[in-house]
């Protein structure tokens, strides 16, 4: 194994001197994992996978990770990841698009089993028609799996959020999975400037006995020995046990808010939040919005921006506050269903007009002009 020095997460995130590198999003994943003190990573090379998991394989060969293997498909990989996490190690994997859906049954069980898995989702289109292009549609499906969802705008976010995700996921009062989502191709396959900490530093190791559930290692009681297993029992106690467990998963996500705020600064970022027209976006749609806002300001239009970083838990109260003065909120998205507009509408409770769009999908890039058109329309109403 390569010698690295364990440092406090806050030091690694905020204080360590950073070097700027010009790297792809997939390489940013590699750099994050290099510093994450990960015990095990499990990969699957689906097309369309990003290069991230084979780059993680490279750093395993270099001695940054103790164990690594290629599984047979995403469902199996997510299952193996569950097994590894139940065995008490820090584990990482990545997937995207069709792979996410192939593996889908596993995600709610990660949350249900209180596993602090960190998974990067390099979002891609979902068949059919056949597509391997960027699209955030899979995030719509993931919203109610019980996992925490962070959405990176760029490679810098991706690098930072992956490292921060481990710390959030492993907090004893949270201890549920964190998905770090990033727009495939736009981020994963393009180079950008990313500031990264020195490679000889790493996060503190995971302590499996900080888990709120028994580690499956036959080294800690209780072991399950009960006369009446709840599963299959049709009685009130069984229903109550299941219902309270589900609520506890939701509560764990709620409790993550303060940890997300601690490590990421906040669940959202806002600029010019007193403006009458606000754009609310996540992922690369934020970057496109920044360009549109720049043009709008040159036209003399007053428009602000909210960048959502955490989608689960959703920053409802913060969003309400940041749009309190707005007469219209525009939600540009990289998918056809408009899941973010639905979320925003639900959060703002019809107190402000929410424009669901513009939307591009199937792999198209979003011309800032489309967003600018919406800004003009809303500003002139």
């Amino acid at each position: 194994m390569i010698e690295q020095r364990v440092v406090a997460p806050e030091y690694l995130f905020n204080e360590a001197e950073r070097e700027e590198q010009f790297i792809t999003g997939s390489e940013a994943v590699r750099e994050a994992i290099k510093r994450a003190n990960v015990d095990m990573a499990i990969s699957y090379p689906i097309t369309p996978q990003s290069e991230s998991m084979h780059l993680v394989g490279d750093i395993y060969a270099e001695g940054y990770i103790k164990e690594y293997f290629r599984g047979e498909n995403e469902f199996a990989v997510m299952s193996s990841v569950a097994g590894a996490a139940m065995g008490g190690v820090r584990v990482f994997t990545a997937t995207g698009g069709p792979g996410t859906l192939r593996a889908f049954e596993a995600f709610p069980t990660w949350a249900g089993a209180r596993l602090p898995v960190v998974c990067a989702f390099m979002t891609r289109g979902i068949n059919s028609p056949l597509s391997i292009q960027p699209d955030t549609l899979e995030m719509a499906y993931m919203l109610d799996t019980g996992i925490i969802m962070l959405h990176a705008e760029n490679s810098q976010d991706l690098y930072d959020m992956i490292l921060q995700a481990f710390m959030i996921a492993e907090k004893p009062d949270v201890h549920i999975p964190v998905g770090v989502f990033v727009d495939g191709f736009f981020i994963t396959h393009t180079r950008d400037r990313v500031k990264i900490a020195p490679p000889d530093l790493k996060l503190p190791p995971y302590n499996p006995y900080s888990a709120p559930v028994p580690v499956m290692d036959m080294e800690n009681p209780p072991i399950r020995q009960m006369r009446d297993p709840f599963v299959m029992k049709s009685n009130f106690i069984s229903y109550a046990a299941h219902a309270s467990w589900q609520q506890e998963i939701l509560a764990a996500a709620e409790r993550s808010r303060r940890h997300i705020a601690h490590y990421l600064g906040n669940l959202l970022e806002a600029e010019n939040e007193t403006a009458p027209v606000m754009i609310v976006a996540s992922g690369t749609a934020v970057s496109q919005s920044r360009e549109a806002i720049e043009s709008a300001r040159q036209e003399g239009l007053d428009v602000g921006l909210v960048k959502l970083k955490s989608l689960r838990p959703f920053p409802t109260e913060e969003l309400k506050a940041m749009t309190a003065n707005a007469k219209a909120v525009i939600v540009p998205e990289f998918n056809r269903v408009g899941w973010l507009a639905r979320e925003v509408r639900a959060a703002l409770e019809a107190k402000v007009k929410v424009v669901g769009g513009p939307r591009v999908f199937g792999g198209m890039t979003m011309p800032p002009d489309l967003i600018l058109d919406e800004i003009r329309r809303c500003a002139n109403e």
């Binding site: 015990d39 095990m40 499990i42 103790k66 164990e67 293997f69 599984g71 047979e72 498909n73 469902f75 199996a76 990989v77 299952s79 193996s80 990841v81 569950a82 097994g83 590894a84 996490a85 139940m86 065995g87 008490g88 190690v89 584990v91 049954e105 596993a106 069980t109 089993a113 499996p208 028994p214 499956m216 290692d217 036959m218 080294e219 800690n220 009681p221 209780p222 072991i223 399950r224 020995q225 009960m226 006369r227 297993p229 599963v231 299959m232």
Partner: protein
């Protein structure tokens, strides 16, 4: 895990469940029990939810009674009848999803190897025929291809019994079951042969009609999987409920099938496994 971890604080002795007190008093950890010690402890609680005469319940009891190191054994199960009994077993056990047991076990085994490099942590998959030969077949075989150091035990009741008796890949040809209303059209999947071809270094097909042989196979499979390679044990565990025979006829049923050649008991030991076992068993030969 040493039994020291399980001591009950005297102040709570009277409020602990009877099952837990029994485990602390007479649990099998570190005792090296075998078939002949059945009855000295509760390897499976007596009020388990499996049917009267269930071949699987009997097989599970026998299997649990011969684990070489129950104190360091983690069971990975799957959806099916056996999953209903696992909460009543004094071992850590995982029931993740239907069919993913060998993938879960692969991750678990590697994790435990990382955390306990100087200790054998036996990861034993115990699943039904549907989970092993149908829905989970790719993950079962892929774990064998990869040479994962795990033991896979199939409790073969030749049907999806927990869901009311539907045809499985392990049902005999011609069997009339739900989803095979005109009788099953194809042969029982030859899992022992597949296991051998896929890289299992120890393969056995056994039944509770011969408890000693079953016990020996389980012990061997778990020991060999510690160091040599993946192992597979298939236990014929007929289902009186779905195959409509009397609960007291389970063993008779097994013997009949064995006699007419429609269920072959067998054992395959690779040369490496043979060598390993010879050293472990003090030179005793294969039966």
């Amino acid at each position: 895990m040493s039994k020291d971890f399980l001591r009950i604080s005297p102040a709570f002795e009277d409020v602990m469940p009877a099952e837990y007190r029994e485990l602390v008093a007479s649990g099998p950890y570190g005792k090296g029990y075998g078939i002949s010690d059945l009855g000295s402890h509760k390897e499976l609680l007596e009020e388990h939810p499996l049917c009267a005469g269930c071949g699987l319940a009997l097989s599970l009891r026998l299997t649990l009674s011969v684990l070489p190191a129950p104190e360091d054994t983690v069971i990975v199960g799957s959806t099916g009848c056996s999953a209903l009994a696992f909460p009543q077993v004094a071992l850590h056990n995982i029931h993740s999803l239907f069919g993913n047991q060998n993938a879960v076990a692969s991750g678990l085994k590697r994790a435990l190897k990382l955390r306990f490099p100087d200790k054998h942590k036996d990861v034993v998959v115990v699943a039904g025929d549907g989970a092993t030969a149908d829905i989970g077949l790719d993950m079962v075989m892929q774990s064998w291809f990869r040479g994962e150091l795990i033991t896979t035990i199939m409790l073969d009741n030749e049907a999806y019994a927990n869901t009311g008796g539907q045809e499985s890949g392990m049902s005999p040809k011609g069997a009339v079951l739900y989803m095979a209303p005109k009788g099953k059209k194809f042969q029982k999947v030859n899992m022992p042969e597949l296991a051998r071809e896929a890289g299992c270094v120890y393969v056995a097909a056994v039944s509770p009609a011969n408890p000693k042989r079953l016990g020996k196979a389980i012990k061997r499979a778990i020991l060999v999987a510690r160091e040599v390679g993946p192992t597979y044990v298939q236990i014929f565990a007929p289902c009186p409920t779905n195959f409509k025979f009397k609960p007291q006829e389970t063993i008779k049923r097994i013997k009949e099938r064995e006699k007419d050649g429609t269920y072959l008991m067998r054992e395959y030991i690779s040369p490496e496994a043979q060598e390993y076992l010879a050293a472990m068993e003090g030179g005793t030969k294969d039966e």
